[in-house]
Amino acid sequence: MRAFVVAVFAFLYLPIALVVLFSFNAGHHASEFTGFSAQWYGKALSNPFLVEALKNSLFIATTSALLAAFCGTAAALGLQRVGTRTRALFDALLGAAIVVPGVVIGISTLVALVQLFAVVNPFLASLWPTDQPPRLSLGYGSIIAAHGLFSMALVTMIVGTRLSSLDRNLVEASSDLYATPLTTFRSIVLPQIMPAIIAGFLLAFTFSFDDFIIAFFVAGAQTTLPIYVFASIRRGVTPEINAIATIVLCASVLLVLLAQWQLGRRKPSP
């Protein structure tokens, strides 16, 4: 059995290792490693389209993860204070946000937003004093919102789990000692759930940064890194893509390790 497990781990990691190895290949072909070179990294990072896509992805992932961390934490705290029925409704919707396939989230958001814009844009135009009214369209905003949906549900789940294992006695002791609810929250609850919030933020960032299918539908004229990579892959495999894949894989691994480390922390360091 141990041999089988070792084989599975090799199966999981060898393909990734191969991409990393060949990103340093001096030659152009996957079949032979002709020498060590970092030239593809230079080529990738001097490609203006790629850099633009990378910047877009970083901006979208940061914004949607921040929004998700904030709203998700608030929701997790709020859900501690409501009755079972409201809680069940929220849990069902949050569960749906996580389980519904990305392709369905993508197309339904596309359909709803296009309809919404068709109503709102003429209305805005009629109100606007000048000839150039602002037009709502698909782009940063729609990707951030659609990514944020999954991420927020994720943060609510992670923070909620941490909240339910929180020591109630500490909260009671704090209010017995005449701390205001806000002080109790700041000095007792927040430090305890902070690792969960950070972990949620990091995973939300990773999700948004890696997502292809949702962004594919709601990106409008914008390009994210996965959309750019997908389009290039379909034109053919190049070592430049290996370099970008290596950067993205390393970044994701780092973020997930950070998230796990945060979740593993029982008590915050002083």
């Binding site: 497990v5 990691y13 389980v99």
Partner: protein, 297 residues
Amino acid sequence: MPAGSQPAFSMRRSLFRKNLVTALLLAPAAVWLVVFLVLPFVAIAIFSVGERAPEGGYQAALTLAQYANLPARATAFWNTMVLAPAGALACLLVAYPVAYYLALRAPQRWRLILLALIVIPFWTSLLMRTYAWMYILGGRGIPALLAYVGIEDLRLINTPGAVLLGIVYGYLPLMILPIYVSLERLDRRLLEASADLGATPLSTFLSVTLRLSLPGVMTGFSLVMILLLGEYLIPTLLGGGKVFFIGNALVDLFLQSRNWPFGSAIAITLVLVSVVVLIVANRISTRLSGARRVDLI
């Protein structure tokens, strides 16, 4: 804050304040869920009973014509309905021994490290991981190596087999985790009791271990299967347009041929099938033992 002069009034006021805070805490999430989950779903439900406008897009109507037209995409449904369960089953067969080893056999100090090594690929880009296999299976990868030893013209990429491999590779972590969780919570004394009562290791495994881990198996199976029903990247990159999934049909209908009402009908059907899969899996696992929740991280 000083207490009010009238106790009843003060109490009502503090109750009101408490409810207000709760509402404010829940409001952003509620708005988000309604605007970007519930409304979009209602929108595609309405679209799915509409008609296609002549220039593409939507025209209001109340008809089941889109649903009656579903057989037009029968190949996509057929491929998905065959390869999604087959992929989930293949994942399960690889995942179970790994989860078993991690939960019951691995040395304690290695367990968390090994578990982290399972979780990391799950959270790294599926696009990049699938791309790795494109690289390996593509003309300059394994086929080129095999050509050295005299096996020529072997086609690996753009076959159903390549798609199945990609599926196992992509979704293995998601299958291992719930099974690990259910095995890890298993009461070890049951295994000892079974052995003490003279059961062979095999019959202990079948009647105790396997049985008690079935909720985890069902959770993993249904999660993987539902995500596979909406899969697009793996069939596109490793199936090369020869192995079409429902996800491919949806991308085509929404982004290329712009038949939104028909696409919406397919999407609604997809969601309904997912719900059925979830309900069946849930039934099976609650019947076998109490429901377990999944930890994705």
